[in-house]
Amino acid sequence: MAIYEHLQHFDGKPVVDWELGTPLTGPGETAYRISISWEEHEAKSQWTDKFAQFLTEPGVEEVTALIVGPWEGAMESDGSSEAATEAIVAAREQLPNLKAVFVGEILAEEAEISWIQQSDLSALFNAYPLLETFYARGGNGLHLGSPTHDHLKTLVVQSGGLDVEVVREVAGASLSALEHLELWLGTENYGATTTVDDVLPILNDNLFPSLKYLGLCDSEIADAIAAAIATAPILDQLEVLDLSLGTLSDEGALALIAAPSIGKLRSLDIHHHYVSPEVVDQLLALPVSVDATSPESAADEDDRYVAVSE
């Protein structure tokens, strides 16, 4: 499985694909997606040129949400998000109200997640101190730095195989307003190097005092993570625990069921999982809203796959 559809909404706003020459209608209420289509790529258009045109549109200063779709070459595995990122950083004066950014909203038919070439995105945090929502798709070449940022509420990294360095960068960040943290750890086959020890600081050290939503998704170490979360202090502060898209099985699910603070959650998402029907029933009996849809089956442990990897 992979991601085959564009976001319809981003940061609560309807997404519009911005095309050259289109005036911005309701710039404050729209999330603009700027991408280089296959046709534009063939015509040698550059993402940064299109973005420069976007910046000249009247009303652009009201824009709050921006999505970076495929840049030139993204579909041909040629070129990274670096130029687009630099252009957005350089546009800080022109986008004073920008609150939400998604770098690399690229679909599987354009480039599978493991073929998206990211870059060092850390400068975006400094350039946009009012940023509240940050998404990135693709773990290759990705760096976030360890930003200090007082407004960021949502940080999401979707990947088929995340390097532990990114997890460490997040753990080292100072994000006092962070409410929603979602990391897709992926599989070793596609570059995942995170072990459960690497996520322990996030679970145990009260790094993000405002955190309400923790997603450690698409992970092949979901059982170990569940076991660690079951006894971690973070469970006392979370409203939502998201272990979806991974290889969670009975082992991790039973650890969660036995966790003293599990009842403090509002919801638990494990969709795409390897938990047996009997244990799913036990999960559904918890005083928590549980999404245990998309059960997978595997002959043995080696046959379990995360949902998004290639």
Binding site: A2, S77, L107, W115
Partner: protein, 386 residues
Amino acid sequence: MCSYVIVGNPDSNRIDFFQQALERLEYPPARIAAWADLLEGRTCLPKIVQAGDCVRIESPGRDFDVERLLLAAGAAEAPSGERLSEVEARNLLFERGRIWVPYQWYLGLRLALRQIEDQLAECEPHRLTNGLAEIGVMFDKAQTHARLCAAGVPVPESLPDVRSYGDLTEKLRKAGWGRVFVKLSHGSSASGVVALRTDGRRTQATTTVEMARSNGELRLYNSRRLKVYEDASEIAELIDALCRHGVHVERWLPKAALNGASFDLRVVTIGGRARHTVVRQSRSPMTNLHLLNTRGDVEAVRARMGAAAWAQAMESCERAAKCFPNSLHAGVDLCITPSFRSWAVLEVNAFGDLLPRVLHDGMDTYEAEIRCVEREKPGELCILPN
């Protein structure tokens, strides 16, 4: 009202569906000339075809006896290398999904089509709904691609004459392309198709082909399950093996998505007009229906494209069909890009009208074809002069 003669495999559901359509339209049942009988010389068309009949050629596929006979027929012409002798071909044992020697099969098919043509020349005056030489062209992806190109039909660019994996990577580098489809030149539908992506360092091949080794021999199988190869030497082995059978390499255009899955269209043209259309949705690079993928909503695609672009896309399909002027029907596969603004014809299938229960103007493909023949005046479109 004419009577039909079908050259086909008697047990095929294609023949059942056509007979049912004849019955609904109050035609007499078609008489069947079995591929196996024709290939073995047990019957010949002059004994079956009567004056005023309409002859329909159906797929020889999905029948292992016929496959063996076509392979045997192609043995004499097949070049050395990937080749089975006539005796070997006749004695093949069935193996599910096994890719034998597609080029030899194709040579056998062409020979059989020529035999049919010769036999029809001996028959009483009749109509024929398939151009026999055109069937041959449609089973050759490179020839089909060239014909479409020459007619100005939008198609993905191709890399001609790829001989090996090394040759492919070199040509990709020169073209600056990051991803292509490698298809068996003479495979049908999703047989032997590889979606290949590379950035010059890393390479990934998503495919329905499975490799198996037995006594040092590499065997290829079509599978319903997609497999992803990441190992460069395995990918090289796979592509080299396919190249030995002959491949057609095309740029992998990104496909548009709707409702959480990407899709392409199968557009059946009948009498040169785009008619029955299905949206083949998939969460993989392969969208062929028999890979257990699902059908989507044609109206939703039309709405997203807008009426004008949709009409132009259908016109491209009709233009593709016109490249095969003696074929009453053709199954055109059309890729729409993610912007919904451009499109390209991926395949033209000689036997691409098997779309049970899909109606257009209240008729299924078979009824529409029968009605179309009724309207044709002798000497037009689907009639071979005799």
